[in-house]
């Protein structure tokens, strides 16, 4: 069972208080209508399944109800860092789907 530091409450709390909400850093396309079915499908359904570094969105569901990100090693379950939505991770790895996180973050940045 994980021991998770909530960056909003600034406390370690038990995993029972949190929900995982899937892979982090998957921005909703700003112009969905401009997406092809394939692009939309990738946004909707395709996720990384890495062995190693993974960025995940979690919510402190029965605490502050705030979402935040966790960088976790899927092999060892080590939590490398937690950071707020909008912040960038210090630990990154190339994702399995080809595009690495940095370029995805860059795309997010130029979009907003």
């Amino acid at each position: 069972m994980f021991y998770i530091f909530c960056p909003h409450c600034e406390e370690h709390r038990e995993e029972e208080e949190f929900h995982a909400a899937g892979q982090a850093h998957i921005p909703r396309p700003l112009d969905p209508e401009a997406c092809s079915d394939k692009e939309w499908g990738e946004y909707l359904f395709f996720r990384d399944n890495p062995r190693g570094i993974h960025h995940e969105l979690w919510v402190h569901a029965v605490g502050c109800r705030k979402f935040f990100n966790i960088t976790r090693d899927t092999q060892t379950y080590e939590i490398k860092e937690v950071y707020k939505v909008g912040e960038k991770p210090k630990f990154t790895a190339v994702s399995e789907t080809g595009a690495d996180l940095k370029s995805s973050l860059k795309a997010q940045e130029s979009a907003t």
Partner: protein
Amino acid sequence: MNQPNRLSQGGRLARNKVINFQYNGKSYPGFVGDTLASAMLANGIDIVGRSFKYSRPRGIVAAGAEEPNAIMQLGATEATQVPNVRATQQELYNGLVAKSTNGWPNVEFDMMSTIGKVGAKVMPPGFYYKTFMYPKSLWSTYEKFIRKAAGLGRSPLENDPDRYDHYNQHADIVIVGAGPAGLSAALVAARSGARVIIADEQAEFGGALLHSKQKIDGVDVALWLENTVAELASFPEVLMLPKSTVNGYHDHNFLTIHQRVSDHLADRAEKNSSRQRMHRVRAKWVVLATGSHERPLVYANNDVPGNMLASAVSTYINRYAVIPGNKLVLMTTNDNAYSAAFDWQQAGREVVAIIDTRAAGAGRDCVEKAAALGITIINGSAVVEVQGSKRVSSVSVSAINAPGDQLVGDISNLSCDTLASSGGWSPAIHLSCHTGSRPVWSDQVIGFIPGETLQKQLTAGAINGRFELQDALAQGTKAGLAAVLNVGLSIETVTPATAEEVEENSPMALYHIPHPKKTSRAPKQFVDLQNDVTAAGIEMATLEGFESIEHVKRYTAMGFGTDQGKMGNINGMAIAAKSMNKTIPETGTTIFRPNYTPVTFGAIAGRHCGELFDPKRYTAMHQWHLERGALFEDVGNWKRPWYFPREGESMQQSLERECLAVRDSAGVLDASTLGKIDIQGADAREFLGRVYTNAWAKLAVGKCRYGLMCGEDGMVFDDGVTACLADNHFVMTTTTGGAARVLEWLEIYQQTEWPELEVYFNSVTDHWSTITVTGPNSRKIIETVVDDIDVSNDAFKYMDWKQATVKGVPARIFRISFTGELSFEVNVQANYGLQIWQAIMAAGEAYNLTPYGTETMHILRAEKGFIIAGQDTDGSVHPYDLGMGWAVSPKKPFSFIGKRGMNRADCVKEGRKQLVGIKTKDPKQVIPEGAQAVNDPKQPIPMTMLGHVTSSYYSACLGHSIAMAFIRNGHKRMGETVFYPLADGRVIEAVICSPIFFDPKGEQQNV
């Protein structure tokens, strides 16, 4: 009664406290301080069970958690049955009732053994896989017999009357094991002021010290132990947990400790005491001082009762004053085991010989002591085979070569009734493996030691392969100090306790004693006694091509189940490695998993059972519903009235009465459970426009609107009415079951996608009671309870909401309708709910105001064709499939959630399943929900299915059955006939129609 194997003195027993226990229906005496196993041995009980697969008689082998044979069914009554308890771990109490787990009709004479003897050759590894695969239909029959034959204990048929607790704990330092290493670590940790938990599975702290005759700091170990335990107990921040097994070591330094609080006292826990307790501990640092398990050697017939571990012999003699036989032969690969023979001889019974497998034999200390006691030592030899069936009668001894893989010289026989063996010690690395760390082989230790880990973990003593007392004390102190520093505390001086050094010769790496015959032809040489895995079986598995040790394990069942390879794993791996011409590190090891020893379901469940299994949610009017005889339906955690039967009514009669009352006059529904989310902020309106499919830009203050919520894939997942309270303030209703999910949905979009929108959400479901008054006379009823507003159709229009005072209580009244009738939903602060409900009931008396439940609500809304999200939707239908395109505004400037999804090629193609109404040809027939429609019921199976029925009822108001259903291309097939072939052979003929059966123009709700 006489205890034939009890020594007249010694042991850590209360000899003045004689207690009686029952084993297989016979009564025996024992002492307080005994385990069930020591008491059985004291009474000369040889056979404690029959083996798993071959039904061979088995006796007690070990003295601790590693015991593979003495697995008991405990319990004096049906309700207190506990299966699979190791007799070696169960403390004796007066009145204890134990039965051997397997053996039919009894362990002395076992029918299965006849099959076992005949079947030995026909039960190779993988026997069950190979034999019982086909035909599949017979598996349930096979399973019954296999279970009976497999020797698994049985669970009680009655509820457990005892109480089990969970404790959540935090600790600076958790120390696992209270032997010399663990106690040394605990002393340092405690003196530093750290918050410490030290747990040990045994009844008393001390571990190996409990049967040791050595000295620490110049005093007897017993005295050192007493002083140490007393000092630890004096620290307020130290929690000492004997009888507590650390069963799991989980991620992020989370440990589960299974404490047996009162299992040692009686069959049932005393009133106000719990039976067992699960400590769930988050530790800053952990010190594993779990010790080691002695490894037996593998030789022919090594399972006959009388074969024991050398250390177990010492434990029974020194700790329990029990000598488990008359004539001992000891076979050993190391000096350490010699003490078993010394203890035996000193207890006054005969040691026939010590067989040392090493050509050079033992070190000077052991040799001198043996000579002094007059014990014969035979070096460079091994016991090849044991004779005897229900007890060892003699052993065959032969000289072996230096590597121990060949016999040299003749075989001679020694008469004895007990053969103790020691192949050395395997570090108890189980916990260190639980979080995925792979252990590392050490040639020096002749065993696996803990590997690298990410946990904040230290190890000390025998778990590191340091088996000497002196090393355990030193390593424990060192680990304790390191843990103290790691948690940020300090301590001034640390001096480890010291024990005398012993001069020893190095041990020999030997696992499997060769036999004159090939392994496959020799009498059985057991590796894993609990799972009946033999050396021949492991060799055969490797011959059949299983190369990975993980596969060998699964194929042979070695180290399975409750055993977790405590005694046999290393031997098994060594045999597999040799058979494949590899080394043990090349072959690798399997990984140990939680739990270390079996845990009762009671301890796992704790208080989370019965009423406390899952929370229940009640509305403010619940008591009123109960008093009116309502039956309830579970919706999420809510208890909702299902219907209100009257005396003598069938369910269908109740529903018809409730439905007709609503349509004819008035009904009332407790709608408090609907999810309610308060939404505020300057951008609340914009936000609603993005999460709902329809338009919200122009909804005026005082108005309500129905909305559909879709996922990004365009599929409907929730719906409800949202009211505009002020330009920046809305209250959203959701389905009862979807409330939490919708709130999280809103939050995730606001927080991660549109943080620039200023909008806040809060759940107010529990804050409000909602009383829905519906039916043609509802206005007359509402008029009499409302203090201050005009509720006429001109002043209070359909889809308006108004702030009002109802019988002096502030209320929000919504004129919205889920029945198609004139309706008023009265919302008051929940603590006024019952009062206002009763006021409305009183006002409605003149109009036959009838309370109704969810079932009538479902019928009434289905008559109107209103969907229920989750019943008429299943995550694969978009608004257009539902015929609800009117609730989608594609022209909204922002691409709302679901818009892109519902425009995918697949969503706009022809031939999708669409929601329609279904009218049966025979008006009395009600199609079962879930039934599939076909065009031609005579087509061959598998038929082409068109879609299923989602909602189906008999409508008393309309006088015929109604259904909502998906039909492929249904919107274009109005008036066509379809058929519903049912599992019972009936075929129901029906016609596709509009799902709005009642008042299609919506006039009734608008009056």
